[in-house]
């Protein structure tokens, strides 16, 4: 048995699982767009709502935090950069370094926006089968005649399918290296190279095996795809999302 990343489909029977995948994708796009304009307080409220949904999906906050630890480091770096580069009346200064209220606000808002997008993505991936996402991508690309929609959708679907596999591979490689005292080497570049090279190699090998397994089971681009189930509930949620996003953009 193995640990599975939360960034993968978690089977369940919640109303989020039952929601039409196109509505979920629309929510991702609309909420991301509206987050560009809404003030920090509303942004915080949206993130709180998303955290409630994550809890509702029965995902462990500790696991989510653990898996987002590198992303959180990135957010901290972005926050620090904004903090130090923004102009305004300093509220605290230490030598040449001055921190202004504007800097804190700007840095905070950028980080909250990025966190919002990642949480939306997490909720989408955790509550939707990759075959449904693939089908929705195909449906979205249908009006564009020169895009090979089935191929693009398959690539996106497989990418999503591969995320947990790559995470598991990385975990195994790290454990193997830790057992041989990699932690003694303090140079982060050395450690990154030693992790990345075998990870890429194993990922390609795994991809090759997966392609063979798919071929052995008659894989083809034209296949019986999952059906959409757009219900009244989906319509209602979509309408609410449109209204809320428009309100967020206007006010």
């Amino acid at each position: 048995m193995t640990d599975v990343t939360v960034f993968s489909f978690q089977s369940g029977n919640t109303w989020l699982h039952g929601l039409d995948v196109r509505v979920k994708l629309a929510a991702l796009v609309l909420l991301t767009l509206s987050s560009i304009h809404i003030p920090p307080l509303k942004l915080t409220a949206m993130i709180a709502a998303l955290l409630c949904l994550i809890k509702y999906l029965d995902l462990s906050f500790i696991t989510v935090l653990k898996e987002l630890r590198f992303f959180i480091v990135l957010l901290l770096i972005i926050f620090a950069t904004r903090l130090l580069s923004a102009s305004g009346v300093p509220v605290y200064s230490f030598g040449p370094i001055a921190i202004s209220l504007d800097g804190i606000l700007q840095g905070g808002v950028v980080c909250l926006r990025m966190l919002l997008v990642v949480l939306l993505g997490l909720i989408l991936v955790a509550s939707t089968r990759y075959s449904e996402i693939k089908r929705a991508v195909e449906w979205t690309l249908a009006p564009f005649p020169f895009i090979p929609k089935r191929r693009v959708a398959t690539m996106i679907g497989l990418l999503l399918r591969f995320i947990p596999v790559i995470f598991n591979e990385a975990r195994e490689i790290k454990d193997a290296q830790r057992s041989r005292a990699i932690e003694v080497r303090k140079n982060p570049v050395f450690r990154i190279v030693k992790l990345t090279v075998p990870l890429v190699r194993r990922t390609f090998l795994r991809a090759e095996k997966l392609a063979l397994a798919m071929e052995a089971r008659c894989y083809r681009e034209v296949r019986t795809d999952p059906q959409f189930n757009f219900s009244k509930k989906d319509g209602l949620i979509l309408a609410m999302l449109i209204v809320l996003s428009a309100a967020g953009l206007v006010f």
């Binding site: 048995m1 193995t2 599975v4 993968s8 489909f9 978690q10 089977s11 089968r129 990759y130 075959s131 399918r161 947990p164 598991n168 795994r206 095996k209 997966l210 063979l212 397994a213 798919m214 071929e215 052995a216 089971r217 008659c218 894989y219 083809r220 034209v222 296949r223 019986t224 795809d225 059906q227």
Partner: protein
């Protein structure tokens, strides 16, 4: 009636190394054949020619009279393959989705897919785990899931590549009893393994491979005394009878 007919099959790897060297083989419908030999003897390469994952460079492979080179898609429905690494064979995000992958490729209706998946899962005893994520299954259950994925295609021939590798004893027993029940239901079974003691008692025929060639082909009783010389472990009972060491 021969369900598999291979004539003068040769395969070279891109490095130039010979993978298969002038293989001739006929397997009758309903036979249970064990293909054994040490690592690198050509077992997996041979099996991959049976459902068109590898195409003959010279020679021919026919399944139920169909030339694999010309009918790869059809042949893949007739010959189901269970790979050595069950993890890499898992495609779906739930047990149900994974088994449904093959029938979806055959463009079957949703109802028919549902029927085939339910039947395949109950045949391997995983009917209670339909919504489970495959990564959370034990090694034995993953192997049985792979078998269910193949069964949902309703194949005539089922090919197992090292089916007992990385399995504990209960897992090995489950997979073995699954293979035997598939044989009882009329499937032609080919098992490639270097672990002969686990299956020799059930086989109708053993093929011994070395350096890409079939060096022995016969009934288990005839070949058991020779297998050690070809890098394959002799069954314990056979060793005890001859009084020889391991």
């Amino acid at each position: 009636m021969n369900v598999i007919e291979i004539k003068d099959l040769t395969h070279r790897f891109s490095s130039g190394e010979v993978g298969l060297d002038r293989i001739d083989l006929r397997v009758q419908a309903g036979e249970f054949v064990v293909v054994c030999g040490p690592n690198g003897s050509g077992k997996t390469t041979l099996l991959r020619h049976l459902n068109g994952l590898l195409m003959p460079e010279s020679g021919s492979v026919h399944i139920s009279g169909l030339d694999v080179s010309e009918n790869a898609a059809k042949v893949r429905q007739l010959v189901g393959m269970v790979f050595q690494d069950a993890d890499s064979q898992i495609i779906g995000e739930t047990v149900f989705d994974d088994v449904a992958f093959g029938p979806e490729n055959l463009l079957l209706s949703r109802d028919e897919i549902h029927g085939r998946v339910t039947q395949a899962l109950s045949a391997v005893g995983l009917g209670h785990l339909t919504d489970q994520r495959p990564y959370l299954l034990s090694a034995g259950e993953k192997r049985r899931l792979a078998i269910a994925g193949v069964l949902a295609m309703i194949p005539r021939v089922i090919v197992f590549d090292e089916p007992f590798s990385n399995l504990d004893y209960p897992g090995m027993q489950q997979v073995l009893s699954q293979i035997l029940s598939l044989h009882k239901t009329g499937h032609t079974i080919l098992v490639a393994t270097h672990d002969l003691p686990k299956v020799y008692a059930y086989a109708d025929r053993i093929l011994l491979m070395r350096d890409g060639r079939i060096v022995r082909d016969g009934e288990p009783e005839q070949l058991l005394s020779e297998v050690g010389a070809f890098g394959v472990e002799k069954p314990c009972a056979c060793r005890m009878a001859s009084g020889a060491g391991p």
